[in-house]
Amino acid sequence: MSHEDRSRRFDGLARRYGDDLYRFAVWLCRDPALAADLVQETYLRAWKALDRLQDEGAAKSWLITILRREFARTFERKVPPIDDIDDVVVAEPNEQGPDDRTERDRLRDAIARLDAMYREPLALQVLLGLSVAEIAETLDLSESAVMTRVFRAREQLKARLSNEPPGKRT
């Protein structure tokens, strides 16, 4: 493959998945600056290994795998403590006003406080549109374990939004 073809192919990956991978990284790291670094590192590694990606249809899973591996390798230890989350995740420029933010920000706060074992499969499902089977393969879990985790994630979020303990609502 020529350098131009390779660059064109890579460009497509950046356009198609860059934003969603960043969002996934934000919820993995719970920090936008760290997430941006993580995604850039992911794409750098993807560029170097691009020839190994044979099936274009598997590109999304391939990038997610690189990102998760990179996160575990160097970024995980830098995740900020939970007390700092309000400062870094919730803030977003150009908001409309306090009323628009309330419900969404409460949910963001609740998502950030979810245990990673619930937060990660939920982010893969909501942000990257992965099916239960794909999440199971990505996280090396059984499908029933994935279903349990995303169920509990939603259950906890609903409970936190309504200020009820998890499990009380159905």
């Binding site: 600056a33 760290l34 998502i111 909501v126």
Partner: protein, 247 residues
């Protein structure tokens, strides 16, 4: 479909439960209420989780091949198109930075620029720097674009590095961890000040101390009671300028 089965599907994989949800909606009653509640949660989840990517992220990702090539070819001193690509990357990054919100003052001089720069992102960059050191390799790469190297012990103290505007083009914005607390450092490759250096008062009780280095100048920003000239001398002794690249 039983209500508890419907609820389970909506809570585990709502995207695959669309048909069941439509049927439940048509059925009305408790099933329809469940679907409405699920729809509302999914809308809110989608909105909450889809945080806005930083401006310029796509552009930076698409420039990865150039960055990778520059690393492989040895960094500072690499000539030709790689240097041009690096410069272009920086130019795009700086342009994006400048147009992101309020642009820096164009002709107000160094004092006005520093005041603007600090108010623009000084506190937020300091806050972001709390998460831990930026990988040394990343700091080295950024500074290499300006032809600057940090001594290893100083490199270890860098908590965050980014490109930033200066009164005379692109520069580097670092946060250093010191024994007395974090210090912001702006490297301005094309800006110089009178030989003895100069101080400027900034918002939030902060002060900037600007001094010349071999090429350009450095501004240190910290609380007013910090001995920045002493810190400046220490930092100056740990900067080297291995090539004459300027941006």
């Amino acid at each position: 479909m039983k209500l508890d089965e419907l609820q389970h599907r909506l809570m585990t994989d709502p995207a695959s439960a669309r048909e069941a949800a439509e049927a439940a909606r048509a059925e009305g009653g408790e099933a329809a209420r469940m679907v409405e509640e699920s729809d509302a949660l999914e809308r809110l989840l989608d909105e909450a989780m889809k945080v806005r990517p930083p401006e310029g992220l796509q552009q930076q990702l698409r420039q990865t091949p150039f960055r990778a090539g520059r690393r492989k070819r040895g960094g500072p001193g690499a000539a030709g198109w790689l240097a041009m690509a690096a410069s272009l990357t920086l130019a795009v990054a700086v342009t994006l930075f400048l147009v992101r919100d309020n642009a820096p003052p164009s002709d107000g001089g160094l004092a006005e620029h520093l005041a603007w720069h600090w108010e623009h992102d000084g506190p937020s960059v300091l806050a972001a720097a709390r998460i831990g050191p930026t990988p040394s390799r990343r700091v080295e790469e950024l500074l290499a674009d300006f032809g600057v190297e940090l001594a290893p012990e100083l490199l270890d103290d860098v908590r965050l590095s980014k490109i930033c505007p200066t009164p005379d083009g692109a520069g580097a914005h670092l946060v250093l961890a010191t024994q007395d607390g974090p210090v912001t450092l702006y490297y301005m490759p094309r800006t110089s000040v009178p030989g003895s250096g100069e101080a400027h008062s900034l918002a939030d009780g902060m002060r900037a101390w600007v001094f010349n280095v071999e090429r350009g100048s450095v501004a240190l920003v910290a609380e007013r009671d910090r001995d920045l000239p002493a810190l400046g001398r220490e930092i100056a002794s740990r900067l080297t300028f291995p090539d004459d690249r300027t941006l």
